[in-house]
Amino acid sequence: MPGKTIVITSGKGGVGKTTTVANLGTALAMRGLSVVMIDADIGLRNLDVVMGLENRIVYNVVDVIEGRCRLEQAMIRDRKINSLYLIPAAQTRDKDSVMPEAMKRLCDQLAENFDYVLIDCPAGIEQGFRNAIAGAQKALIVTTPEVSAIRDADRVIGLLEANMLKDIHLIINRVNQKMIKRGDMMSTEDICSLLSIPLIGIIPESEEVVISTNRGVPLVHDRKSQVAAAFKRIAGRLEGENIPIPLDNHEGSLLSKVKKIFGAG
């Protein structure tokens, strides 16, 4: 059975697509699954530095598509996990140098040999976006609890549905429970009801993300990190495990108030 091809997209830039691909890809591979991540952000290559693989790049995805190298030559194996690979973006090409049909062929070919093909989508809704979604059967929308990210997510969901890509799940990134509790951030329920697509995970906001990116080691390698645990749960849900998603409902905040009164908060 061919593997799953999943595009990670958002519309807005800087909401955590690349972070999600790196951590989810690593988390899936840590479960023993074979995973290949494609950086489809042509011209703005980033996934390689987040994975700490920037020194190993020889060929890239455009080289593969244009036949300048064999597929295996452009696949960089992860430093820690043997079943995890990256196909980097081209840095010097413009994003119109790839066509959707070529991306679809590449994804289909990879899906024959891997359990998961994760595609890191560029921001925006132009050619680069169309390329990135062309080979995907499933989409993960990344948003943050901010109005502009949510609006762009809604637009992208509409475009995916118009392209007959209807298996869509939501990841809410950079959630700050303190701000939600004091009423200064949209709750995760609010966001789910606005976008009305099924939720697959909530990632807390954390300095750890920046630190792990600085080092080029995905945070899921850190056993104590809450962010790591959140990504691992998403990996489990993708694998069909029934892991409940803790929402930040009012009971939660009431409970925490009670806990505070009794000194347990």
Binding site: G183, D184, M185, M186
Partner: protein
């Protein structure tokens, strides 16, 4: 009156303000309907109305009206004549 309501609501927490604003924004965004679909909507409205009355097909207009805190579909059609059966609830099988 409106001002006092506004003042009352300005005490709302920013998270709620954001949610309420997004409800309207997304409604408006999703209502930017493509021309072909708008054409279908018009034809279907005409088809439904034609069961009950004679209407001027050229006269129909359908547009999205976007207010500050609402969105509406507004349609205008000129009615020429209303069939008598429209007032009764019997269906015409003849």
């Amino acid at each position: 009156m409106l001002d006092s309501i506004k003042r009352f609501f300005s005490d709302k927490k920013s998270g709620k303000v954001a949610r309420d604003r997004m409800q309207i924004v997304l409604l408006h965004d999703r209502l930017s309907i493509e021309p072909e679909i708008m054409e279908n909507i018009k034809n279907e409205i005409l088809a439904v109305l034609s069961k009950y009355m004679e209407i001027d097909h050229q006269s129909i207009s359908v547009r999205v009206e976007q207010g500050k805190d609402y969105a509406a579909i507004v349609s205008n059609v000129h009615v020429k004549r209303v069939f008598r059966q429209a007032h009764t609830h019997t269906t015409n099988t003849g």
